[in-house]
Subunit: 542 residues, 2 copies
């Protein structure tokens, strides 16, 4: 993978994948052009810019595409995959490619052809009786919400923070949503998948023709394959069921504010108990002062120093903004009497911790869309872009960038405090950046600590320092038994290296599957550290 | 697979697997004997009888083993697998092998060596803080409950009807349990697996050494493999996490009795609504008159006729036993005030249906173990063997046998009524047996209809008729888009044949995985229709 051939033609300078000859690439494009109109085959540098890591500099040549195609149907995806399989062209797929902290829509392998599914955006079904939708990969949270509202459906979706993302794309990376069925990735069910030879697979009960339980039952006869297509490169999901929830009587958001840093341990203990006994559902989360401050203020309002903000300054921000040192939020859904009982439990439990206040009120479901706070709307399935502002802490909204480092932590006081100390120390010491973290309780037993490495994306040195610091964090966290739930393109291999039990038994097993189901290695090579045989890196140093 | 060589030595007549020479088999046994004491290597006909399909006749030669081994540690399992891989001996594994309706502990391929994990029965961990246990495959529901009680743990397990089964074994086949985290197979998390070459794999976060979230987080970095080892033959699970639930204030069983057959549709509509809005958790279930009558009476008490009982007789049984035509049951767990609110909803909703009565009362959790009704105890995690009596309808407790046919049905009135009519007709017409069914709402959106084909297992003709009828049902159900959640050894292939979308794309995909991860095809060949290349049947007629 060290040689990259650059191919110049009339319209563009192309970065072809290593080992691919220009003529071979042209034959591939010619085959694609038989299936897709030319305006949905992009090869110019200008057109391809939108498919780069949004925070990469012009001169960074990694993770750039040779072309992008925008199919609008499963048949077109199949045609592209067949052409790539015939001509040995590496592909990389996204739904909307909006998760910028992990590389956005950019491909892992330089010179890959990006299959952008942004225009494959039909909602194929909304079933009121059985409470599910079937979507294509280009369907955004905004689209799904609009369709539910426009059709007057008595249902809402569990959604994520930013409405511009893809329902399928988020699910394909174990992304977080907040609704009642978000816990343990509960909403996706039943997939249609284009395999490496261009053929179609349906998972679960969908493997039987006309079986109405395809999107209703999480298993099938034989092993369930849905999870195998998540965070992998064994197929391209072109259709998926997504479970919805009947609109409840009320939604009850709750907001937890802790004045003191040392509340973290007791907060996590309390949260776990409320999760395990079923009082709190969905995915509640906690953020530290500087992450939430980043949504509503700019760093320059608080300090002129480049050094990471000290505790005295953070305390000042915590007090003046009212954010506190830790800010938690979650939701309760259901009948008013049940929700009020559970809210009283939540409030009493958290307020036993010194300096902690819990607020919130029950909201009749039909009023949720007109609430001022975006988080309250999100709990009711109403998407927004409000928190996108978070990235502007250093660089302002024009130049804000971020990387995410996201280890999974056991939900205990001890683990929370120790991992937080360790992560903060690394961010401040190695990257020289402020420590900004959001902790998501994706199940009753763990939290995912998303460390948002926010930087000024116009400052190349700072951007590189953020990359380097995260790489160090991946290694250091790995030594302490902390694994990432998801990794940026730039350290997918490194993150995967940390899962070394049994001489990397897990990776050797999934790479056996990779070679069996994609023998030419064309589907997203390298995604989450899974490489096809011909491109497998020398890991003797890992 | 048509030739079976029978090898006679001093102690036994062995049915060796097709293509395996006696000397080859002896070399395998000699290698196993280096790792296991001889008393845990069984080869005599008498010793092997316990590993047959419990309802097979002596003269039926299919599904019989050549030997059985009883390892007590993962290392011993590895040694057996390595020996089998070296000498190309097919294996078949069970935990306790107690699900008699699907073949019990018997192997799919005649002459296989059974790995019985019954004596690998340690509970490796019970974690009070994070509410999970880690068990070996021989751990029974009885064992887990006893350990929780003996240790004074504040937790209980979601369990199944019969306490003699294995926690892992049940999970490996998508078996049903009833507790709060049973829905959508929520309890298992994190596995250790012996692969076909004898090496060890740890799934999820366990793929990282010393990662404390192995049994806490349902995914990992890269594709999640737990579901891939369920209903497959890609590895032998020797360790698994199982999530537990903190003991709630009260358990509130509810019992639904419907006088009339035609209540079925409205019952299922009501159940779905109560499931989708979160009122009812766990796995509620409904049984018809004759299935429940079979637990407490014998057929001879009601009729002398061999013909399937007619509706007049069923009505009489329904009334005299008090069972009704449909009997539903479920549980609510939590704070008394919430549970009482939800129970009132359940009662009001079901009792809107003519002829339906709902009963039940809240039980403080510490009193659940002393309740008379086994189902109430089961809701509190206290196992029993009470319903094993169900199989004696025709043959009495000595000679009772059963086969299960278990399609997954969308949870709507129309699907429930139509599938019930269709299944009853086939059972009565083709098998000449009474129609006995239990319907389990394993998610809010489906039920699994377990048709219990109960027969007199001392009557060979009736037993064969039951097998033949189920085979017909598998085919006919398949034509109507109804797929089984699990199949008996005798029709695993037939059940798998029904999943034919894309020229059997699903099976071709999983068989590619099979060949990649078990190239010698030694692990449970044929399990759920997945065959290794060398043994793959001619499916041109399928």
């Amino acid at each position: 993978m060290s040689t990259i051939s650059v191919h110049q033609d009339q319209t563009s300078v192309r970065t072809l994948p290593a080992g691919v000859e220009p003529a071979q690439f042209d034959r591939f494009l010619a085959l694609v052009a038989e299936a897709l109109p030319t305006e949905r085959i992009l090869t110019s540098e200008a057109d391809l810019r939108q498919f780069r890591d949004p925070y990469a500099f012009e001169t960074w040549t990694e993770f750039t595409a040779s072309a992008a195609v925008l199919p609008t149907s499963t048949e077109e995806v199949q045609a592209v995959v067949r052409a790539a399989n015939e001509h040995r062209i590496p592909l990389f797929t996204h739904g909307q490619g909006r998760n910028n902290g992990y590389g956005g829509p950019a491909p892992r392998v330089t010179g890959s052809v990006v299959i952008s599914l942004r225009e494959m955006n039909r909602i194929l079904e909304i079933n009121d009786e059985l409470a599910y939708a079937v979507v294509e990969p280009g369907v955004k949270w905004f689209d799904l919400h609009e369709a539910l509202e426009a059709g007057g459906h008595p249902l809402f979706a569990s959604i994520t923070d930013l409405g511009w993302g893809s329902v399928i794309g988020n699910s394909m990376d174990n992304g977080i949503t907040y609704g009642p069925n978000s816990q343990d990735f509960g909403a996706p069910c039943g997939m249609e998948v284009v395999l490496a030879d261009g053929s179609l697979l349906r998972t679960g009960m969908g493997a039987m023709e006309d079986n109405p339980t395809w999107h209703l039952y999480k298993r099938g006869l034989g092993p369930a394959l849905d999870p195998l297509f998540i965070q992998s490169n064994f197929g391209i999901v072109t259709r998926m069921g997504y479970w919805l929830t009947p609109k409840p009587e009320v939604v009850h958001p709750f907001f937890v504010t802790a004045e003191k840093e040392e509340a973290l341990g007791p907060l996590m203990e309390t949260l776990r108990r409320l999760r395990l006994d079923g009082t709190v559902q969905g995915i509640p989360s906690f953020r530290n002062t500087l992450l939430l401050a980043s949504v509503i203020t700019r760093r320059s309002e608080w300090s002129d120093s480049d050094a990471p903000l000290d505790d005295a300054t953070i305390d000042r921000i915590a007090q003046e903004t009212g954010i506190g040192r830790w800010s938690g939020r979650g939701g309760l859904w259901g009948d008013r009497v049940v929700v009020e009982h559970n809210y009283a439990k939540v409030k009493a439990a958290f307020e036993q911790i010194p300096g902690v206040t819990v607020t919130g009120e029950p909201i009749p479901f039909d009023q949720i869309g007109s609430r001022e706070h975006y988080y309250e709307r999100i709990l009711g399935g109403v998407p927004s872009m409000d928190i996108h502002n978070v990235v502007g802490w250093y660089g302002g909204s024009e130049n804000g960038g971020h990387l995410s480092f996201s280890p999974v932590i056991a939900l205990t006081s001890e683990n929370a405090v120790e991992s937080n100390r360790f992560l903060r120390d690394l961010v401040e010491r190695e990257a020289g950046l402020d420590y900004q973290v959001a902790m998501f309780s994706v199940s009753a037993r763990v939290m995912v600590n998303v460390v948002m490495m926010i930087f000024d994306a116009s400052d190349e040195a700072q951007t590189r320092r953020a990359h380097d610091a995260v790489k160090l964090m991946v290694r250091e966290a790995g030594k302490r038994g902390m694994g990432e739930y998801r990794a940026h393109l730039d350290f997918m291999d490194l993150a995967s290296d940390q899962f070394a039990f049994g001489d990397h038994a897990y990776r050797r097993f999934v790479e056996k599957i990779k070679d069996a189901v994609d023998p030419n290695g064309i589907l997203a090579p390298g995604r989450h550290g899974i490489w096809p045989e011909a491109m497998r890196p020398d890991r003797s140093q890992a």
